[in-house]
Symmetry: C2
Subunit: 364 residues, 2 copies
């Protein structure tokens, strides 16, 4: 059995708390002989700023590059809000994504039956919801140049951001979406604003071409991003795989996540290209943020983080059965009534972060 | 009594149908001696392409410039999808906004009690909802240059869009938002992504400054656009006035509109700067689109269009009482059970576009 090198980057806020629970699962998998891991820890985000003055040190980046997979908690918090743009906690996360080439962000939005009641939407609209958002993660307005603020003669300012997409960037993310759709219900919706943006025109053109040339059996629909946001609220189950750019993906995946009523539950994977050896760089992190308001209180829900480990087992190591086992343990823990505060219904008792981690390990 | 020049641009799809109902209300107001209008008609969007090869002719633009206010139906449809980017129906609408300097887009999202059931959200979350979205409309990624697609040496392409904001552009939209908040509940939320975009950094900085210097009594909150989209779904009533840029405004206002469960009900105003004579250019249009699938069937709901006339009376002509009267007639028609198909509940009979227009005129 190969031993996988896992780099754990707990980050800020509730990041370290949820990461501690993942380590229990990692330890269990090792003992059970299902997977062998070598784990190391590093700093990213605010914790890295505090430790060595930058949100991501070159040394941590080198270790991330050498690892077989990275698990990340969350970055950011009010403590670092006032500081310069390029030194903020978020800059560390963005550099990790960009420098490792993690261009494909997979964000499942799944509504667990036991939690459908927690959604803002009417139960029948979200029960059984299972969307896979495929967000482009290393291009678009996040990284395009120029990206700057200049001061004009009269002392006023002018800020610029640039959204760039090339054929190659769109092609590779389209392939990820269509490949996923083949294993799912065979439907892809592609969201852009080709009525207003040239990047939207190219996006639509390239997705259409990739579809026609390689995936004729998959159903493809183009939808304007504003209408897509609306449709996610109106009738979310119409979507299966939804592919979109970095910025629209940021907003649309958050809307989709919120529909499930359980932000603390949703994992994500950020994947690079498959290399000659058949491996790919990958980072796994919960969709939720660092939630500084509840940090240190034991309220955080570790399920999104543990679910991210399950995605890691599946997408990085091909350990589908171990992934099923972990996901099954989450489902069983929920079915047995285990609830952190974020998902406890009225009159339900809430357990702590560590108790939830223990409850899941118990079901393994 | 002054006579106001109204330019009516019905546009495409259901645009002409809903515009016809507004004309009934305009006629009634004239006869009742409440306001005197001179109306003329023009083409915009696809209908203008069909009529003279462009989505907005210079002549129509000149008439728009000379009018006291413009009422617009909707533009676009599959008929014009394949044509060149700059000749599409949407280009006409964008040129109107830009050339007339209509920088402030006001989009109220109001949940009518009689219709709360139609929302995808649970009733208690949306009942009484009354948000005013203030969207910047003539800047950002919609108009920044470069905005182009270039072909690279290897035949692949590169698309670029540019988002630009200046201090002056942000200042004036911030003033609109804070002024509105003063007349409402005194709360403004400002949405951007300052963690990723330089335009977001400047946006936050300028809004903070305008607030501190002129509106200390208004409550200001900054929210990241992705989180804002989430919060709109999770707990929409936390918002009162929400100010944001052109692109985020496009998506967030559509989410907010959808929450009300009645897209056919929501009006909007797009306002220019107040000039030396105390007047301002203004265009009023429904939030809904041209809905080509139901065009010509008599299914369209004319309430958003008639509500847009009410906003026109209020914001362009200071005719607050006439505006109240029109809005009151809409509310009464709804209370008396008048329902077009889009808002008819199960077991409720639906009436046609013209019947709804007549029902509203009857309540005037
Ligand atoms: C923290 C921030 C930079 C990030 C983003 O905007 O991508 C976050 O919102 C996300 O979606 O992972
Ligand atoms: C039709 C389109 C150009 C327009 C926009 O993107 O602004 C529409 O979506 C809107 O919100 O008015």
């Amino acid at each position: 059995m190969s031993t996988y090198k896992l780099l754990l980057l707990p980050g800020d806020g509730i990041g370290p708390e949820v990461m501690a629970e993942v380590e229990k699962v990692v330890a269990w998998l090792g003992k059970a002989g299902l997977a062998s891991f070598e784990t190391e820890h590093g700093h990213v985000g605010g914790s890295a700023i505090d430790a060595h003055g930058k949100p991501l040190s070159d040394e941590t980046l080198a270790r991330a590059d050498a690892a077989d997979a990275i698990l990340l908690g969350a970055v950011g918090g009010p403590k670092w809000n006032g500081i310069a743009y390029d030194l903020r906690p978020e800059a560390g996360l963005l550099r990790l994504r960009k420098d490792l080439g993690l261009f494909a962000n997979l964000r499942p939005a799944i509504c667990y039956p036991a939690l459908a009641e927690a959604s803002a939407l009417k139960r029948e609209l979200v029960e059984g919801l299972d969307i896979m958002i495929v967000r482009e993660l290393t291009g678009g307005v996040y990284f395009g140049e120029p990206k700057e603020i200049t001061t004009l003669e009269d002392g006023s300012k002018r800020a610029v951001d640039t959204q760039v997409y090339t054929t190659a960037e769109i092609e590779r993310i389209a392939h990820v979406a269509f490949d996923l759709a083949r294993k799912r219900s065979g439907r892809v919706a592609s969201a852009e604003k080709n009525n207003v943006m040239k990047t939207g025109v190219l996006w639509k053109e390239v997705v259409t071409k990739v579809h026609a040339e390689h995936y004729a059996e998959v159903e493809l629909e183009h939808v304007l991003a504003d209408n897509c946001a609306m449709q996610l609220v109106r009738r979310p189950k119409q979507f299966d795989v939804l592919v979109t750019d970095n910025l629209f993906g940021d907003v649309l995946s958050d809307v989709a996540a919120m529909l499930t009523g359980s932000l603390g539950m949703l994992p994500s994977a950020s994947l690079g290209a498959v290399d000659a050896r058949g491996t790919r760089k990958a980072l796994y992190e919960p969709v939720h943020g660092s939630a500084p308001d509840i940090a240190g209180k034991g309220y955080a829900n570790p399920i999104a983080m543990i679910g991210s480990l399950a995605m890691c087992l599946r997408y990085s190591f091909g350990l589908g059965e171990a992934a099923d086992l972990v996901e099954g343990a989450i489902t069983k823990a929920l079915a047995s009534g285990a609830r952190t505060r974020d998902i406890a219904g009225e009159g339900q008792d809430a357990i702590s972060t560590t108790q939830m981690g223990d409850a899941i390990v118990r079901e393994l």
